[in-house]
Every structure is written in C-alpha cells, then in structure tokens.
Symmetry: C2
Subunit: 345 residues, 2 copies
C-alpha cells in the first residue's frame, strides 16, 4: 500500500525527549516499512525514518518558536500530503490536537483518516459530525464510544516498543506513581493508598503547580518519595523495580499508555475503573481494576502477587508493535475499499 503518514509538527519523529504521539507515529511508520509498504512520513526534517521523509519544515514548533501560529503549520503539513494525494492509497493523520484533516476530507483523491490522541469534547464532536464520512481510527472502544455519530472505521489500541521496556523478574519493594501531576491522574490518591498499606511509594513526574499545591506537602522522603522527572532509561528501571504501578486515575482517559509500559516490564497495575482502563488491564492477569480507593488498598497485595512473567507475556501479546501494525493495515484496507466504493469519478 502507498501510505502517507502525517505526524504532528511539534517535534521530530521519533521524539528526542518526550512525545507519546511521535513515539507511536514512529513505531507505526517503521513497522509499515518492515512489512514492505511504500510509506511517506510527513514530519519535521530532523526526523529519523526508513520511510521516505517529506520534510515540510526543517524543525518542529517546539524547537523553532517562530513557527507560529502552530495550527497553521499543522494545516500546511497536512495540505502537503493532500497536495500529493494522487500518489497515495491512504493518508493517515496523527492528530495531536484537533484533526484539521476533516477540512480536506472531500478535497483529497485518497481517503484522509485520522487517529485522535485525546478524548474529544462536545464542541469538537459537534464540528466533526459535519463530516460523518471522515474515517476515524479509535485507540480504544471507550474513545470509539465518545466518537458517537462519526465514522469509526476501527479500534486499534496503541503499541509500545516492548523490547525497550525490559522485563524485571525481581522487583524492589516499592509502589510507583508515574504520570503528570494533575488532579485527573490521581497522585494524591496514590499517596493515600500507599499510606493505608504501609508500602513505600515513588512518585516520578515533572514538577507542576499541582505538585507544589497538593503533592509536596505529603512527601516525607521516607515512605513517600519524589524522584523527579525521569528520562526513558530511568523510567524503565523504575517500572521494573516496582512491585505494582498505582493508577488511581480520576478522569476518564481514552487509553493509558503508562499501564502498558509498566506491564511490559512485568509490573502489575492497580487501577481505578475509569475511561479505557478495563480495555488495557486484563483482570487478574496484568492487574486488577478497582471501583474505589478502599478496594484498591484492600486488594493491593493481590496485585503484587500476580505472576510478573505472565504480566510481561500478556503485555507483549496485546501491546506489541506487531499487533498494532497488523491492525492498522487491516483498517487501512477497509478504509481504502470503502473510499473506492464511494467514488464515482
């Protein structure tokens, strides 16, 4: 298949520092190349890929502050792919923010599909429903449910590079909270669970206002320890060393990448039942999903007792890049067929 894969313009693919959308974009691009597809990646010029790179811009707008307004840069990167639509069977946009690709839906000879990386709000849905044919690829059934009234061509959960998330059979004796310090991620609730169970908790995330307001007062550097923001290697070590990942998420999220990453290191997860959590966690195998904090505190030892090798194996099966790439190819084929069926010219 001739595939135009359109990345966000924020930074390189893969990202030099953080960037979950860029990481996923890179894994999918390289996986498609491995399967022999003819892939053109529309991404900033400092990206590294074995696909053909269409460098619409030399850098991303995270690096080059003159690239403003950033929405226009996203738009022109997309336009660059649509301008070459005759060369592709499908255009796939990784919409870091809102999928402006909809504006091109009826102008492109090739179908323009989009993966949305957040939970859409009501204003966005109202807008997108004007283009009921535009194919979305959801990242969870939960997100697909939220995309009600739109054309969800398929559900493809994210894949992660399971080779880089190294398995650790013999963890240390701590619990881990890893994520952003926001009320929605539940760091205060994680501390609550640690205190009730008497276990040590390491917190890893960048300092934000909510850290100073709500989290720092609870850090005692003995039982509750803040380890700062960590790079990739340190993250993998932290995952591998944890008895369990605490995920007392308060706001529903459309996926939960940190769950898959922890599991790939063999670390079971204790999660609250919100958003797509039940789709990511295999109950009793890779973790346990609890309905409230009391249950989580009471059931935490059962989570820690889960078989780490089995956690790893299941994570690789379910969240390996192989699976993601295969599923994307299948959805692409379906979208291309449907598009061919609709075209009359």
């Amino acid at each position: 298949m001739r595939i135009a894969h359109v990345a966000p313009v924020a930074t390189s693919v893969p990202p030099q520092k953080s960037g979950s959308v860029q990481t996923m974009t890179s894994l999918l691009t390289e996986g498609l190349v491995d399967r022999g597809h003819d892939v053109t990646l529309f991404a900033p010029g400092h990206s590294i890929t074995r696909a053909k790179l269409h460098a619409t811009f030399p850098l991303g707008y995270r690096e080059d502050q003159t690239m403003w307004p950033w929405e226009m840069y996203e738009l022109l990167n997309l336009a660059a792919a649509v301008e070459r639509a005759d060369e592709f069977d499908i255009i796939h946009y990784e919409a870091e923010y809102f999928p402006m690709s909809l504006a091109f839906t009826r102008l492109s000879r090739a179908p323009v599909s989009q993966t949305l990386h957040h939970a859409p709000d009501i204003e966005e849905l109202t807008l997108w429903r004007r283009y009921p044919d535009a194919p979305f690829i959801a990242i969870s059934r939960e997100q697909a449910r939220l995309l009600d009234g739109l054309n969800v061509a398929g559900v493809v959960p994210h894949g992660i590079d399971t080779e880089r998330f190294v398995f650790n059979a013999t963890p240390d004796d701590y619990l881990l909270f890893l994520g952003r310090f926001t009320p929605g991620k539940g760091p205060v609730q994680a501390i609550e669970v640690a205190k009730r169970t008497g276990m040590r908790l390491l917190l890893a995330a960048a300092e934000e206002q909510y850290y100073h307001d709500a989290v720092k007062p609870l850090v005692d550097d003995k039982q509750i320890v803040y380890v700062g923001e960590v790079d990739f290697d340190a993250k993998v070590k932290l995952f591998g060393g944890a008895r369990a990942l605490l995920y007392p998420v308060q706001a529903g999220e459309p996926f939960g990448l940190v769950l898959a990453e922890a599991m790939a290191c063999g670390t079971p997860v204790a999660a609250l039942d919100r958003g797509a959590v039940r789709e990511v966690v295999d109950e009793g195998v890779t973790g346990i999903v609890f309905s409230d904090l009391d249950q989580m505190a009471a059931g935490l030892s059962r989570v820690c007792d889960l078989d780490r090798r089995r956690v790893r194996t299941r994570a690789v099966e379910r969240f390996g890049v192989e699976r993601m790439v295969n599923e994307y190819v299948a959805v692409y084929q379906q979208i291309v067929e449907a598009h061919r069926g609709r075209r009359t010219d």
Copy 2:
C-alpha cells in the same frame, strides 16, 4: 464571472452591530451582484444578501459560543467553497484573521485569492512565503509593501457606503476622536492636541482598560467629553457635527476606515503620518497629514478651514463602493487569467 465570496464566520453579513470586515464584504458582494456577476456568498445563515447564500453554519461564532475552536469554523467555511471550486472562476476569502486559505491554494481548481484586513507580522509572512503564488489583494500600498515576497495581485482600497455617511455642511464646534481606546490609536494624543488648541473634543469608543488607565483621568466633561460607544446613526451624526477628525495614530495601520467615513460626512481630518495615512488623506483637500503633534496643534485651524463640500466630493470619488467594486473585478480578471496560464491540466 462566477465568484465565491467567502466571509469570516464571526457574525452575519452585513453585521447587525459592528464588524468592518463584514460591512466591506457585504458592500462588495452586493456591488458585484449589481454588475451582473454570479456571486455565491459563504457566510452564516442569518446573513442578508442578493447573492446566492451558502450558509455553511446557521450562526456566527460571536453569537454561538459552542462554535469552538473558531479557527476550525473558518477553515470549514473555506473548505465548503473549495469543495465547490468547479463551479467558480475565482474564490475570494476575506481573511479577518490569518488566511488559512493558503492551505487550499494548490488543491483548488479555481484560484483562491485573499484580502487581508490587518498588518501581517513576521511570523505570518514567513509562513505565507511558502505559497509565493497565492494571490493577495492588498488594501493599501503600505500593506502591499508589508506583503513583500508574496504575490500581491493588486491594491484595492476599501470602499464605504457613502450614501449612509450623510454630508453635513454646517458642523458644530467640536473635534472628534473615534476609534478604539488603545495606545496605538492615540486618544491621549488627541486630548493633548485639543488642550493646546483650546477646542472641545468628543471621544467616542467602547470603554476598555486603557480608557480607565490613561484616558478617563483627562476627561473633564467640559472641554474633553467622553460620549461612550455609539451606534451607526450616532456615529454619522458625530462625524457630521465635527469641525475635524483627530487621527493622531501611533501604530502604522494598513488602512484607516474612520478617515474615509469622516470625509464622506464632509469632515476634514488631522492625521499623523503613519502606515497608510498618506494614501487615504488627500493633502490639503480632505485633510492634512502632520509629522508630529506640535505641527498638528499648530496646523489644526487650516484643517478646520478646508472646504467641506470638496472633502465630501473627493471622499465619494475615492472611497465609494463603485470604485472598489470596479477595481476588484479588474483584479479578479487578472488573477483568473494568470491562473489559467499556469494550469496545465
């Protein structure tokens, strides 16, 4: 000619309250219809026009707060015109903010031209230079100069409805400042000039922070009087009753609609030499352009002595709708020819 005229999505065309872009869009649309052109206006559904109305949305985002993000609504209104490009000889976008139309330049069978209603900044120019063929129609030579490196197909100064700006041969005895209370518009400088000349000054504009910070302390309700924000009829009365309009503008502007409006009422203008001012004011006929405030204060009586009927006549010649519409038609023809010459399919 088959013309798609794409208005901003903010509010109706013409606007029910204020909206200089919508007013100009309406005048141009109706003028084109009068000349027998086949015009389709892409504007919110509560617009009133004798052209064909393509109501992409029922309301504007000023009226309907759920229309968010507004940039996407602008984009989809434009896309609606480009989707019908086969039906038009030219698409003309009135870009209230940035011309996202550039993204469609190479996707549309009909040429996509744009009138820009503000002075572009360096970031915008950098972006737009990626599309050096995209035809801009400048509103002044000053704006054309700022659009350096872009394809400026022509310069067409704004027109106003000179019938509605009623001539007044016998003004009252006051000076007028009408515009927004911002440092760039120079309300404090207008007060300075009034004080030096001992003449009364009426200030008409909406209350903004700068009014409270810098203007209000200078208002004494005797010589310096704030009359609030005024509707259209009150504005015309204020213009007509003024001996002169003070326009001590500090920041360069690409046009200066208030100058043309005052002149149409027969009111001469005293302006500082910034931006496009010299293109709008006919020196010694419709007003006098000064290089600084001292000169303005010293020369104000000469401004007040200008022949008001001659001011009116010149304003109608130069800023009547007739002239604007004729010039737009000529530029459209030129853009259509150039586009035809470039197309090979």
